[in-house]
């Protein structure tokens, strides 16, 4: 029983990690509807920044979030304005996908050039200390990730639901043309949303960096799971991302322990397919359009 609890808690902590990484993608993929393959590389850039700031200034890794969130916001907004937006006019909107793949490859190789292929380590500053709660052990850093993930989900949900800007963002997502007719500047909303999405990645980077070694490829480790989480939760649904991440995290941990590590991914992705077949719009998704050209 103790082992089961430990596996369950491991799964929930993993879910927290997936949530914090995927939450920005929900905004970008679910609302701007850009399939952003460079999402993981934004995380990588953030983790390197967290490393440089932590080591350079000797501050606690969490303090770097003050610089990371704005820096990543700007990076994301620039990417949307100068890479994605000019391509919106392209005859085939899939061009953007390739643009983000190009951005991803460029960022990985840039990191290889600047930092080399070896890993770098952000000091863990006590965040790797295990806490014993009853029969289970968790790391302080993992709890921080989980708490931040839940707070971020609630915060973003309130922002999208209760503020005018949030309503405008959702309006653009639902029907771009109608939103423009209502006087909403759709391009600006997209830039803003993309920026908020990548700022979330900045927050994630500050939380993840002290727990995981940073390497140029670290983004690719997370990006596939992040897409799965977003699709499973329902496109554009913020609470869906949390639920999706928890499902993936717990199934991952359970199958890794009870079925075997070799079959873990087969189980996770098999379950993902079954849920999608049964609920094509995801766990909490409503039917929404994936196109920029509104119906």
């Amino acid at each position: 029983m103790d082992t089961f609890l430990q596996v369950l808690v491991n799964g929930i902590m993993l879910g927290g990690l997936f949530t914090i990484v995927a939450i920005g993608l929900t905004l970008i993929f679910g609302i701007v509807k850009v399939i952003n393959f460079a999402h993981g590389e934004f995380l990588m850039v953030g983790m390197y920044l967290a490393y440089l700031l932590t080591v350079g200034l000797g501050v606690h890794p969490y303090v770097t979030v003050v610089a990371l969130a704005p820096a990543l916001f700007v990076l994301g907004a620039l990417a949307q304005r100068f890479i994605i937006q000019p391509l919106l006019a392209a005859r085939d909107e899939h061009v953007q996908i390739f643009a983000t793949v190009g951005l991803s490859t460029a960022l990985i190789n840039l990191a290889l050039m600047v930092f080399g292929a070896d890993i770098v380590n952000t000091p863990s500053s006590g965040l790797r200390t295990p806490l014993e709660i009853g029969p289970v052990r968790v790391l302080i850093g993992q709890i921080c990730i989980l708490v931040t993930a839940v707070v971020a989900v609630i915060g973003l949900q309130l922002f999208l639901g209760r503020t005018n800007t949030g309503r405008a963002i959702r309006a653009v997502a639902q029907n771009r043309t109608a939103a423009q007719l209502m006087g909403i500047n759709a391009n600006r909303m997209h830039i803003l949303t993309f920026g908020i999405g990548t700022a979330c990645v900045g927050v994630a980077a500050a939380l993840v960096a002290p727990l995981y070694p940073t390497s140029p490829n670290i983004g690719t480790y997370f990006v596939l799971t992040a897409f799965v989480v977003v699709v499973l939760g329902g496109l554009g649904s913020i609470p869906g991302a949390l639920l999706g991440a928890m499902v993936i995290g717990v199934v991952d941990a359970m199958s890794g322990f009870y079925i075997g590590s070799d079959l873990r991914e087969a189980v996770v992705f098999g379950m993902f397919l079954v849920i999608l077949i049964l609920r094509p719009s995801g766990l909490l998704g409503s039917r929404s359009t994936l196109s920029h050209v509104s119906p």
Binding site: V7, L112, I119, P130, Y212, P213, F257, D262
Partner: protein, 400 residues
């Protein structure tokens, strides 16, 4: 008339080319010089370059100075293209390489088809010398050698230190699931069963794993004494940290090269946590030099030429392989492919007489059957050789 003109131009062409061809002999150096593997690709090539310098200083090969034509094997595709260029445009007599197994597999096929000898000095995948090729030789130890050494080390050293029979050790094998980890783990199982070890768990995982807690838990439940991990950097760090945090404390952890041989791994987990961890890899520098004569001279030559200490054992192992081949070619009768093959087939160098310790004699599939890896241990923040005894500079420290 036309034939005569053709003959005349040919003669002219030959006379223009001839002096150059007489003065020097050209070999290919095919390594990843750019891209993600550039660092260790370059490091490997430096070993070859030092060997060439040494041979040239001693009068060259059959009186001709050796020059290297570089080919950049960024990926397997480009390795093929560069191998073609070296062979047909640069007209190299043989190709040396390659550090990376996937690039070696691809490029050596080109050499085999062209009938040009290909000398692999550093790639470890077993398959390279299991394809029945005639022109492809390998001087360095392989994935198979790694597993063999790890099992021998468990039987000879780890089990006695724990006061147990080898069959009483409970062993867990975990590995990343690409070709590298899977083949080493497969050989570990085979050699382990042969030696009567009790292997209780074998688990693969993708190298891009972000959480190993379920693997750690299952090893803990299986109550293992020894964990064997074949892994890259990221997953080595993750396992060592998560095992420590979950309270999994096996009597020995043995890594298979990769992440376990690298300083950044030790820095990531901290020298306390990696203290005592064992590892199998190519010969490194913290080794008993009585067993590796010439190692100090190599390091001195390296410092002279590149202005720093060698960054890894790759250069040393490439140097040893290249020296053996080049010295054999000096004895050969001409440098056509058949003469080269005849000369290298005759190589017979005893263990304990090269700078890497292992001897060289080509056996099945043109694999160097004397090549072996060494057992190392992290002690005081450094990776020191502890096995075999001839090469050890420190006692293996195993606490019960």
């Amino acid at each position: 008339m036309r034939i005569r003109a053709l003959a005349a131009t040919s003669v002219l062409a030959l006379t223009i080319m001839a002096p150059q061809a007489m003065a020097e002999v050209k070999f290919g150096a095919l390594y990843p010089f750019s891209g993600p593997l550039a660092l260790l690709g370059e490091e490997s090539a430096r070993g070859l370059e030092i060997a060439v310098d040494e041979i040239n200083a001693a009068g060259g090969v059959q009186g001709e100075q050796v020059v290297l034509a570089r080919g950049d094997a960024v990926d397997p595709n480009q390795a093929i293209g560069e191998a073609r260029r070296l062979i047909s445009l640069e007209n190299v007599k043989a190709v040396f390489g390659t550090y990376s197994s996937s690039r070696s597999m691809a490029a050596s096929q080109v050499a085999e088809l062209s009938g040009i000898p290909y000398f692999e000095l550093g790639a470890v995948a077993d398959d390279i010398t299991e394809r029945g090729f005639t022109y492809v030789y390998r001087t360095n130890p392989t994935a198979d050698s790694m597993a063999k050494l790890i099992v021998k080390m468990l039987v000879d050293k780890v089990a006695p230190a724990l006061g147990k029979e080898p069959g009483d050790l409970r062993i867990g094998i975990i590995h990343e699931d690409s070709n590298y980890g899977t083949s080493v783990a497969g050989h570990q199982e085979d050699y382990g069963e042969e030696a009567g070890l009790n292997i209780v768990s074998v688990q693969g995982y993708p190298a891009s794993i972000v959480d190993m807690s379920s693997i750690v838990l299952s090893l803990k439940e299986a109550n293992v004494d020894v964990v064997l991990q074949t892994s890259y950097q990221n997953d080595s760090v993750l396992f060592l940290q998560q095992a420590n945090e979950a309270g999994l404390k096996p009597a020995a952890i043995v890594g298979g090269g990769g992440g376990y041989s690298m300083m950044p791994t030790a820095e990531a987990v901290g020298t306390d946590l990696i203290e005592g961890v064992l590892d199998a890899d190519f010969t490194q520098y913290a080794v008993n030099t009585d067993f590796t004569p010439g190692l100090e001279d190599f390091v001195a030559a390296y410092r002279d030429k590149y202005g720093s200490d060698p960054r890894s054992g790759h250069s040393l192992n490439n140097y040893v392989g290249a020296m053996a081949i080049l010295q054999a070619l000096d004895e050969a009768d001409g440098l056509d492919p058949d003469a080269i093959l005849k000369a290298v087939n005759a190589i017979d160098i005893e263990n304990g007489t090269t700078a890497a310790g292992y001897g060289i004699k080509f056996g099945d599939g043109n694999q160097n059957e004397r090549a072996f890896m060494m057992g190392m241990q992290w002690q005081g923040g450094k990776l020191v050789t502890v096995y075999p005894d001839d090469a050890a500079v420190a006692e293996m420290a195993i606490t019960q």
